[in-house]
């Protein structure tokens, strides 16, 4: 199996300067390797740093020590030390990060938001929009909403737009942070299918799923975060 992600001896501490320099240690000495076709589910109680680790893989959070190696084409890119323009490249073609929260430019139509990752890798506008439409349809977003900005949508609709945007381009590394959190049963099924399809095409997936049923449905392996929590001295 091709290894897609190698996390080596990673530690994370937050220093809150505005609150008197309080230091919050999240984890240390963390190692994790994820192969293509795997879906590794991060587990552990609240505060063990599941979301923090996901964000560090995406380089949204700083990685102060250790290495986070992502296979980008034929190269390994260390997300902990890569130059911003390299990270942007990795995000454009290799890593998809799907969170519960939609963050978009006001005024941009849903269809354009969803097709944007395709446009960014050079798919022509017509085809990108057609594929986006297909996915939105699958995720049961009414066609009447496609030309509107999702900013005014309900929480569930926004989340599905976010999922569509994350899955539209089959990127080889997927980070899924509670993608099904506020979805109803029917929509959850669609998302499960999308995750399985991604796995089957060989994506390396790291996920956080609160719901045990979903976890069982997609997971190939659990990764217990609590083992790496810094022990109180």
């Amino acid at each position: 199996m091709t290894t897609m992600l190698k996390i080596e001896q990673v530690a994370k501490t937050f220093t809150l300067h505005v609150q008197g320099g309080v230091e919050i240690s999240v984890f240390q000495g963390l190692d994790l390797t994820v192969d293509a076709g795997e879906c590794v589910v991060l587990s552990g109680g609240s505060g063990v740093g599941k979301s923090t680790l996901m964000r560090m893989i995406d380089a949204n959070y700083v990685c102060p020590s250790g290495r986070i190696l992502v296979r980008h084409d034929e190269d390994w890119v260390d997300m902990a030390s890569a130059h911003p323009h390299q990270i942007i490249e990795v995000r454009r073609r290799t890593i998809a990060y799907v969170s519960q929260f939609l963050r978009v430019v006001p005024r941009v139509a849903t269809l354009d938001i969803v097709s944007e990752p395709l446009r960014a890798v050079g798919v022509d506008a017509e085809e990108a929009r057609a594929r986006a439409a297909g996915l939105l349809q699958r995720l049961r977003i009414p066609e009447s909403l496609w030309s509107l900005s999702p900013i005014t949508f309900s929480g569930g609709e926004q989340q599905r737009v976010n999922i569509a945007r994350g899955f539209i381009l089959g990127r080889p590394v997927m980070l899924l942070d509670e993608p099904t959190a506020s979805l109803d049963a029917a929509n959850r099924e669609v998302v499960l299918d999308l995750i399985r399809e991604a796995r089957n095409r060989g994506a390396a997936i790291v996920g956080i799923f609160h719901d045990a049923d979903i976890r069982d449905a997609v997971s190939t392996r659990a990764f217990e975060m609590a083992h790496y929590a810094r022990q109180a001295a």
């Binding site: 300067h17 949204n60 911003p84 323009h85 490249e89 430019v105 006001p106 005024r107």
Partner: protein, 260 residues
């Protein structure tokens, strides 16, 4: 594609002092084609001084600013001759001022404003100049019917969009923006940001955006410099700096804004 080419602009330990007062110092970075860099900080942090020094309007007290021209030459923008500098400014570069009145000729029509850069680089066909002006007005969502109106009759948001059209008509590769949404209503800001983002992406422009508005850089910039008292205290990927700021000042800056 970002990173595939040589930097379009390089700042190497750039400083500008106003007499003994520090405007900015020790600023170094590489800006790549297609990359948008935000410079944030409060008033007096030196971000506008830095922008003026990078643009060549202020002479650096130390360091140098090198840029790559469209003919792929590397030039020090503070030592090139004035004719070369002017050509660079109107062919390769653009500058969008906070106040559109600083970037527009208020006593000539919108069409003449857009056409000026074309005429400055030698276009001498009225019909061609006019049709390019109409095309650009439409791209920045200004009604082409208003091409012969004076900018003074435009709203603030339209004036700002006109300024952008006037700047982009010659197809520059690097655009400097000083608080581009500064004086505008919130609703107008969103429209302008969206427009700018689209243009930057579609045209593959590089940009340096100076602003105190973190929402602006989150939408536009790939990476950030956080400035305080004339120095860069933190730099990096935009969302990384905003979501996991390391320096005490960056943390203060981020925690001081209302979450959206």
């Amino acid at each position: 594609m970002i990173g595939a080419a040589q930097p379009i602009l390089q700042a190497d330990d750039v400083a500008h002092y106003y007499g003994r007062h520090r405007g900015c110092e020790h600023v170094s970075f590489d800006l790549f084609p297609g990359e948008v860099m935000g410079v944030v900080g409060e008033s007096g942090s030196g971000k506008s001084t830095l922008l003026s020094t990078l643009y060549g309007r202020l002479t650096p007290t130390a360091g140098r600013v090198t840029c790559r021209t469209r003919t792929d030459e590397s030039v020090d923008i503070h030592t090139i001759s004035e004719p070369e500098r002017r050509l660079l400014m109107r062919v390769d570069w653009a500058f969008v001022h906070q106040n559109p009145r600083d970037g527009l000729r208020m006593n000539v029509s919108a069409g003449a404003n857009v056409g000026e850069r074309l005429m400055a680089v030698g276009e001498r066909h009225y019909g061609d100049i006019r049709s390019k002006a109409i095309d650009w007005l439409e791209r920045v969502e200004v009604d082409a019917e208003r091409i012969d109106d004076l900018p003074a009759t435009y709203s603030g948001g339209m004036q700002q969009r006109l300024q952008i059209a006037r700047n982009l008509v010659t197809g520059p590769r690097l655009i400097f923006m000083d608080e581009p949404t500064g004086g505008l209503d919130v609703s107008v800001q969103a429209r302008l940001l969206d427009l700018l983002r689209g243009l930057v992406t579609d045209l593959g422009l590089s940009a340096i955006v100076v602003t105190h508005d973190l929402a602006v850089v989150r939408l536009l910039a790939h990476r950030l410099l956080v400035m305080r008292k004339g120095r860069v205290v933190e730099s990096g990927l935009t969302d990384q700096v905003l979501d996991d700021p390391q320096h005490p000042y960056s943390q203060l800056l981020v925690s001081s804004i209302l979450r959206t």
